[in-house]
């Protein structure tokens, strides 16, 4: 199959790659850019584990082709933390036990990052509506909701409710 040149701008870093037009964005990120934090749970757009931000909006990277993202800014979970401190959402997921196996976690984090950028102060109903985009099989969602609410509050400049943890 013929190949196409694509420039992917991921977390501020440019990846010039040559791909088949049918290569999904998810596979390009994982296999060609070495960013395996974006996970594939269904490859048909339901589970949301592969959620990344494209031009600031949460999208299913399994349903986009890499060639559609030429020179468009892309953000993945690897870009959330500087390696020293965690993004408030990551910190809140940790504090509130918002993950178990962690496979769906990058998708939920990117979904929440995108959604809170659009609406920093969602109501509980709005938040549940947003989070119902993605599937988690371990947590029953309760702690994910708690974590996102706590992070949202902190990101708005308030103080997050205390974590139930001691270390």
């Amino acid at each position: 199959m013929s190949q196409v040149d694509v420039r992917l701008s991921v977390n501020g870093e440019l990846h010039a790659i040559r791909v088949e037009p049918r290569l999904t964005l998810a596979d390009a990120l994982r296999d060609r850019c070495g960013l395996t934090g974006t996970h594939l749970g269904c490859e048909h757009g339901v589970c949301g584990a592969c959620t990344v931000l494209v031009d600031g909006l949460p999208v299913r990277s399994c349903l986009m082709f890499a060639v559609q993202c030429n020179d468009v800014p892309i953000a993945t979970v690897e870009g959330l933390s500087d390696g020293v401190s965690l993004h408030p959402l990551q910190q809140a997921f940790w504090d509130h036990h918002g993950l178990q196996c962690g496979f769906c976690t990058p998708g939920f984090l990117m979904l929440a990052v995108g959604a809170l950028a659009e609406n920093p102060d969602p109501t509980d109903d709005e938040l549940r509506q947003i989070l119902s985009s993605n599937l988690c099989r371990c947590t029953g969602y309760q702690n994910i909701v708690t974590a996102v609410k706590a992070a949202a509050e902190q990101m708005r400049g308030g103080t997050a409710p205390g974590a139930p943890s001691i270390s």
Partner: protein, 782 residues
């Protein structure tokens, strides 16, 4: 300060939060080949031929295998709960002669690129002479022309059942079924294998759950010495019973890397997962109770049919064994029989899924008790009280065995657990409130169900604890992590028993080259077994540390204290202290201390047990039914769960809430539906519906420590499965209550189409209809 009982944050979370985790699909090696499986498109048939000629000519395709290419590799053997006569029902790694379910591996393609491998697999033509499929386990067909599809009968019984029924004042009989659903972890399966020619060593990445057992099985199947195979568990995206068992694809990947001398990668896609990875549940029960005039159940006689699917896989008859053994739950039931028929059909093979046999058994038992309550016009909660095993009867010998161990409930305060739930619900007030809402026309109901779980399967677990030169503590175990937080729990136990700082501890699991044996993670066994072994090894190591420190400080070890990684003289705040690093450093090779104490600060301990522990609890659900959309919404959910002793309540709460979500899914949404030709209809997440946050109520988990286990030093019982156990039972009772039809629910899941039928029945029969007694149960007196 003790770490035990503290909700500390998990030590394993950082890589998972930052995208640095290594799940199996994240593992790659230079020059790797990709495997794609060609699966049977039909449920039953005779294979005439597999045409691979065109595909083999494709550039980039290295090879295509069908059964003849792997004829030297035996079928996959059973890991547990074997009964005689099962061998012919084992699954070959590629379909041999016949296909037995849609999704069965028939051929595999090996190519340089994953997209190309998929293209090539599409080009393989399988010529099959299609046969009529067997789809009903209650009407067994033939596995082969000369072999029945009823692979085994599991029988558990005790007491005088005949006398129980002779003495009964009421006999209640039900026919009930639990649908086919399964674990469906968010990460699909996968295997990556390498073959090192120089050392003749096979390595398999993507192992989970039971790496040591699978190493042994692979060694035997591939004709290798066990020392020349190593399995490596990376991050695992959920297990729930299905992930980590040995499947045909794992064996094919290993065989292929040896054959082609190239790294080999296979990652399952979601459609494959839904038709190829173990299904579960799918039982039909016919259950009968002999009841005394006071509501005391004198005896239970149960017969059930397990739809095993196309083959008997690694679990052999585990699910049926557990169903029968634990069916009687928390009740005395002086006479009992359960007969399970394990029947092969032309569906995806079945295995265990979280609370295997108990989700089904609790549904059946609690439905039966609800039916008895309705028949005898006793409050369902009061009926249960009459039948509960009392704390003075503990330990309680059930009179049957499960998984090869005799079932002895080790401890339990069942009535106290029920009281806890009743108090939390404010039961009387809640019932009145719900009755009032129903009187105003709302379809709202409350259901309560009790359960006994089992956990901590032996026979043993080994743990090695080592203190490094930098004072770091390494715990190595053959247990496994499926995301449940075992690293944190094991570290908490180690920190407490050794006296180390939690932050200094690293827990290593699932690596067969680092520890000689390990049982893995299943049956809610890790906190009980690995936790207990960790406690002992850590305590032993503490003695050793203090002995060396005593020499260094010229003090009696008995006068020394070790906390937070610091050794000090008791009751002497100003005296000199030693760090673990300083003690470890003193054992440098050739030193006098090393001569006296050995070169390393290390202790190994094996914890052995012959009995499981039995946690227990209560589920309660409030549901609302929409009479126009037939949607059933769970609006409140309560789980009371006694785990004996809670090491990390936050993680237990997480286990309970997550399991409850799966239980709600199995009760209302999830089902692997097949059409009359055996074609699976749930092959994507559009058809196999799992709960999203929208379907989830607020779940309240009350974790109690009323009855610590006397069987292990920590007093713990497993926490992984109680949250799902009685979910189907509680929701069914709540739906009955909402409809005002006792016994309306006889099958799970209660999908909108089934709810539509129930509502139609309600409008025809009026609200006074008693739905129980579906197979002509007859009340009698005297």
């Amino acid at each position: 300060m003790s770490y035990l009982g503290q909700s500390v944050r998990r030590i394993e979370d950082w890589p998972l939060l930052t995208g640095r985790a290594r799940f199996v699909a994240d593992v790659s090696f230079p020059g790797q080949l990709y495997m794609r499986v060609v699966r049977s498109p039909v449920a039953s048939g005779r294979i005439i031929g597999v045409d691979t000629a065109d595909v083999k000519k494709m550039v980039g395709v290295v090879s295509v295998w069908s059964a003849a290419d792997v004829a030297h590799i035996p079928p996959i053997d059973f890991r547990m709960t074997v009964v005689p006569g099962l061998e012919p029902y084992r699954q070959p790694i590629l379909a041999t002669g016949f296909v037995r379910y849609v999704g069965e591996p028939v051929a595999v393609v090996f190519a340089d690129d994953p997209y190309l491998a998929e293209d090539a697999a599409d080009g393989v033509f399988i010529d099959i002479d299609e046969l009529d499929p067997d789809l009903d386990p209650t009407n067994p067909g033939r596995f082969h022309p000369d072999l029945t599809a009823e692979a085994a009968i599991v029988l558990k019984e005790y007491g005088d059942l005949e006398q129980a029924f002779a003495r009964a004042s009421e006999v209640v009989e039900l026919r009930l079924s639990v649908g086919r659903h399964s674990g469906v972890p968010m990460e699909t399966r996968g295997s990556v294998a390498t073959w090192d020619v120089d050392s003749a060593t096979l390595r398999m990445y993507g192992a989970a759950k039971v790496p040591h057992y699978n190493r042994k099985a692979l060694a035997s199947m591939l004709g290798l010495d066990e020392d020349h195979i190593h399995l490596h568990e990376g991050h695992v995206g959920g297990g729930f019973g299905v992930r980590g068992e040995l499947y045909p694809e794992d064996v094919l990947v290993c065989a292929a890397t040896m054959k082609f001398e190239r790294p080999l990668k296979w990652i399952e896609d979601r459609r494959e997962h839904l038709i190829a990875t173990n299904h579960s549940r799918d039982q039909v029960h016919r259950i009968r109770a002999a009841v005394g005039a006071d509501g005391f159940v004198l005896g239970i006689d149960d017969e059930f049919w397990q739809d095993q699917g196309g083959y008997v896989r690694t679990h052999a008859v585990t699910v049926s064994d557990l169903t029968a053994a634990l069916l009687a739950g928390p009740y005395v039931v002086p006479a009992f029989r359960s007969t399970g028929h394990v029947v092969l059909t032309n569906k995806t093979p079945a295995g265990t899924y979280r609370a295997p046999g108990r989700y089904e058994g609790s549904f059946v038992r609690e439905r039966l008790f609800d039916a008895i309550a309705a028949r005898m016009e006793i409050d369902p909660v009061e009926l249960r009280r009459v039948n509960l095993i009392g704390p003075d009867q503990m330990p309680f010998e059930r009179g049957v065995d499960a998984l090869g161990t005799s079932v002895v409930y080790d401890s339990g305060r069942y009535a106290d657990a029920l009281d806890t739930a009743i108090a939390e619900l404010d039961y009387s007030r809640l019932r009145d409130e719900i009755a009032g809402r129903r009187a105003r026309g709302e379809l709202v109901g409350l259901g309560v169900a009790l359960f006994v779980e089992k956990s901590g399967l032996g026979p043993n677990d080994e743990v090695r604890v080592t203190i490094g030169r930098a004072g770091n503590v390494e715990v190595v175990t053959g247990a496994a992590s499926l995301g449940q937080g075992m690293e944190t729990v094991v570290a908490q136990v180690c920190a407490d028993y050794l006296g180390a700082d939690l932050a200094a501890i690293r827990v290593i699991h699932g690596q067969t080259d680092l520890i000689g044996q390990g049982m893995g993670a299943f049956a809610s066994r890790v906190t009980v077994m690995t936790g207990s072994a960790t406690a002992r090894a850590s305590a032993d190591l503490k003695v050793k540390v203090l002995a060396v420190a005593g020499d260094l400080l010229e003090a009696d070890p008995a006068d020394l204290d070790l906390t937070g990684g610091l050794i000090s003289v008791k009751d002497s705040p100003g005296s000199s202290r030693l760090t673990l690093a300083e003690v470890a450093e003193a054992l440098t090779s050739g030193s006098e201390m090393a001569g006296r104490h050995g070169p390393q600060l290390e202790a190994t301990s094996i914890f052995t047990t012959t009995h499981m522990t039995y946690p227990y609890g209560v589920h309660a659900a409030v549901v609302e039914i929409d009479p126009e959309t037939y949607e059933c919404r769970v609006v409140r959910y309560l789980v009371v769960y006694d785990v004996g002793r809670a090491i990390n309540p936050m993680l237990i709460d997480g286990q309970i809430v997550g399991a409850a979500a799966q239980g709600i899914g199995g009760a209302l949404l999830e089902e692997f539906v097949y059409d009359d030709h055996g074609q699976p209809l749930a092959t994507s997440f559009m058809d196999y519906l799992m709960p999203t946050v929208s379907e989830m109520p607020e779940v309240t988990a009350i974790i109690t420590e009323m009855a610590p286990s006397p069987l292990n030093p920590l007093g713990v019982k497993g926490a992984g499965e109680g949250g799902i156990n009685a979910a189907g039972a509680a929701i069914a009772a709540a739906v009955d209550d909402a409809l005002g039809i006792p016994g309306a629910v006889t099958a799970l899941p209660i999908t909108p189409d089934r709810m539509r039928e129930l509502l139609a029945g309600r409008s025809q029969a009026g609200p006074t209809l008693i739905g129980f007694g579906l197979i002509g149960s007859v009340g009698r007196s005297g």
